[in-house]
């Protein structure tokens, strides 16, 4: 069956004005340049130039990179709901969803690669494989993701190949579930630290990805409509708004279950006490960022009746911020809490044993992280300019008002 089975939309000029386009390129390019400068600086001086050390080995770049990777797999859900579950409203959005999945994945991976100790050896990661490593398996999943989603995009956008879209949509859907399982398992398979080592990590990352991905999609969709002088379809927006609320609620649920479980395990109580009560910036990031800004507030914005385009976009932006806070709590907070090397003993050493590890990221780390966003943004802006990615709801085409 055809993915875009709805009648063709009437032709609308959907290209943004050239001035806007150039401005967007310049803005994205500026951030990308800053990231490049940070990368070259770190690569030349070594990680001594960053705020990371032997205790906090993954810092702000990983926060951004893992967020982008997780959101990238989640943003594909919009297409999956169309192709796999056959919802026409989502089918119209499948090409944009696939495009964002590719660009955000690329953005995340670029940051991950730039933060390697030996980025010059990136090829080694392809030529030498340890199949027991979930990290290595992730690289297979990432490469496969690009290939499958790209093929899926082609079947969506080429009328002759449309019949294959459903099959590829299925494949992409299951592939992305496996991919996010593997991404969550990067932390789930760590036995060493109190914050990780839980099978819950994989499904929790999947539900996080649903929320972050949909939030990212809604932001991009609204921006594209705005730059093209179009208004979004109220009925479709209401549906997507409700779906986002479900995802955000589910993400909150998984978070609660995870911490409740930990509170029942005596050996985990010290860590939970740290995270929930005395962890300083990590406690703040958890309660204020992940739970408040990223969970409760967007839920309220989405569920209190009368939510329009603006409110949905604000809620989506909050979910994104909350997602970054969650990654910060999970990745950096998990490392900040000291390892329990000798249970029942107080430990101290010259190697920061037994203390909460300090971490003061330098601006370059943020530049690198935002560079990932900029990379995704630039490819998206260019792709949207040259190919018809703008979601068009044929049934409501008459309702689209053009201001061009």
């Amino acid at each position: 069956m055809a993915a875009l089975s709805a009648p063709a939309a009437p032709p609308i000029e959907t290209r943004p004005r050239t001035g806007v386009f150039i401005g967007l390129l310049a803005a994205g390019g500026l951030f990308l340049l800053l990231a490049l400068a940070a990368f070259l600086h770190f690569e030349h001086s070594g990680h001594i130039a960053t705020g990371m050390d032997n205790q906090i080995v993954w810092g702000i770049p990983h926060v951004f990179a893992v967020f982008l990777v997780v959101a990238a797999s989640g943003v594909l859900n919009v297409a999956s709901i169309g192709s796999v579950f056959g919802k026409p409203d989502y089918k119209a959005r499948a090409p944009l969803s696939g495009l964002l999945a590719l660009t955000m994945m690329a953005g995340g991976l670029v940051v991950l690669a730039a933060d390697l100790g030996r980025p010059d050896r990136l090829l080694v990661a392809v030529t030498h494989f340890n199949f027991k490593s979930i990290f290595a398996l992730n690289m297979l999943f990432y490469s496969g993701f690009f290939a499958i989603v790209a093929a899926y995009l082609v079947t969506l956008m080429n009328r002759r190949l449309n019949p294959y879209a459903r099959a590829l949509g299925f494949l992409a859907f299951f592939w992305r579930l496996a991919l996010t399982t593997a991404t969550g398992s990067i932390f789930g398979f760590l036995i060493a630290r109190s914050a990780y080592g839980s099978a819950l990590m994989a499904p929790m990352f999947i539900i996080y990805s649903f929320a972050y991905g949909l939030a990212a999609f809604l932001i991009v969709q609204s921006a594209m409509y705005a730059w093209n002088g179009l208004a979004s379809n109220a009925r479709v927006l209401a549906r997507m708004k409700n779906l986002l609320a479900v995802f955000v609620g589910a993400a909150l649920y998984f978070t609660v279950v995870m911490h409740l479980t930990n509170l029942y395990f005596a050996k985990q109580i010290a860590y939970e006490r740290f995270l929930l009560l005395d962890g300083g910036v990590y406690t703040t990031a958890f309660w204020f960022g992940q739970i408040g800004l990223g969970g409760v507030l967007p839920l309220a914005l989405l569920l209190i009746p009368g939510a329009g385009q603006t409110r949905v976009v604000i809620a989506s932006a909050l979910v994104t911020l909350g997602g970054l806070a969650q990654m910060f709590v999970t990745i950096v907070g998990g490392q900040a809490f000291p390892l329990d090397l000798f249970p029942g003993h107080a430990v101290s050493s010259r190697f920061q044993d037994g203390i909460v590890n300090a971490y003061a990221p330098v601006p370059g780390e943020f530049a690198l992280g935002f560079g990932g966003f900029a990379f995704a943004f630039l490819i998206t802006v260019i792709a949207v300019r040259v190919l018809p990615f703008l979601p068009r709801d044929a049934a409501d085409a008459s309702a689209l008002k053009t201001t061009d």
Binding site: H47, R118, N130, F135, H345, D353
Partner: protein, 263 residues
Amino acid sequence: MNERGDIGNNDNRGNNARDGNNGRRGFIAAAATLTTLATLTLAPGIRLIQIAAARPEEEAASAAVRWGLLIDVTRCQTGCEDCVAACGKENGLGEVARPRTDAQWIRKIDLKEHATGRALSLPMMCQHCAHPPCVDVCPTGASFKRADGIVLVDRHICIGCRYCMMACPYKARSFVHEPHTDQNPEVPRGQGCVEGCTLCVHRIDRGETPACVAACAAAGHAAMLFGDLNDPASAISQRIREVRTTVARADLALDPGVRYEGL
């Protein structure tokens, strides 16, 4: 002085055996069964010939051997960092100038039991696990375990992702945060790779003990005993049979090659 003369430490082979241990130790009986390994013992702790015979240089490390360390926490002195200094010197790590980013292949940890207040000091380094999490998680296979149980990093294919540092329960790995030019030719190391205790593999392959073990013996503490855990006649195996030893984070069941006595 050390009653358990360690391989390669002829100078420190003491004869003032620790009180109360002589009677319990069946070294003479054990020695009778030894032939090729040449750990010939005249009296408890006094060995005539050391296992100093290194493997021929063209022979690969064998899985018949599993190198290990036994650390006697009751002999390790609080405040003594001779093992740490020797490691830095041997492996070209330099002195600790920037504690947050400098490499620490071995470190001294001071312990205080919450319940009793009992204070201890011990060295902590790569525990050379039989089931090393760092090897499991390494995407390129740069983290690997040599046939004789030594866990190493192949810097030629280490991409510096630092996942092994996330995975190690002992914080035994360091990331090289800045360029270096003062390497020991036998111990290559440089910016952007992860590294950790090699058990002084270059010394072991020559038939010597790790630098920390030699330094501990030289300081007269002899709190570290190095040897082949697979050889029932080795001093370390005998000692492990005799006294109660433990491993760090035994709950993780990683089967470390480093054991602690008196913990």
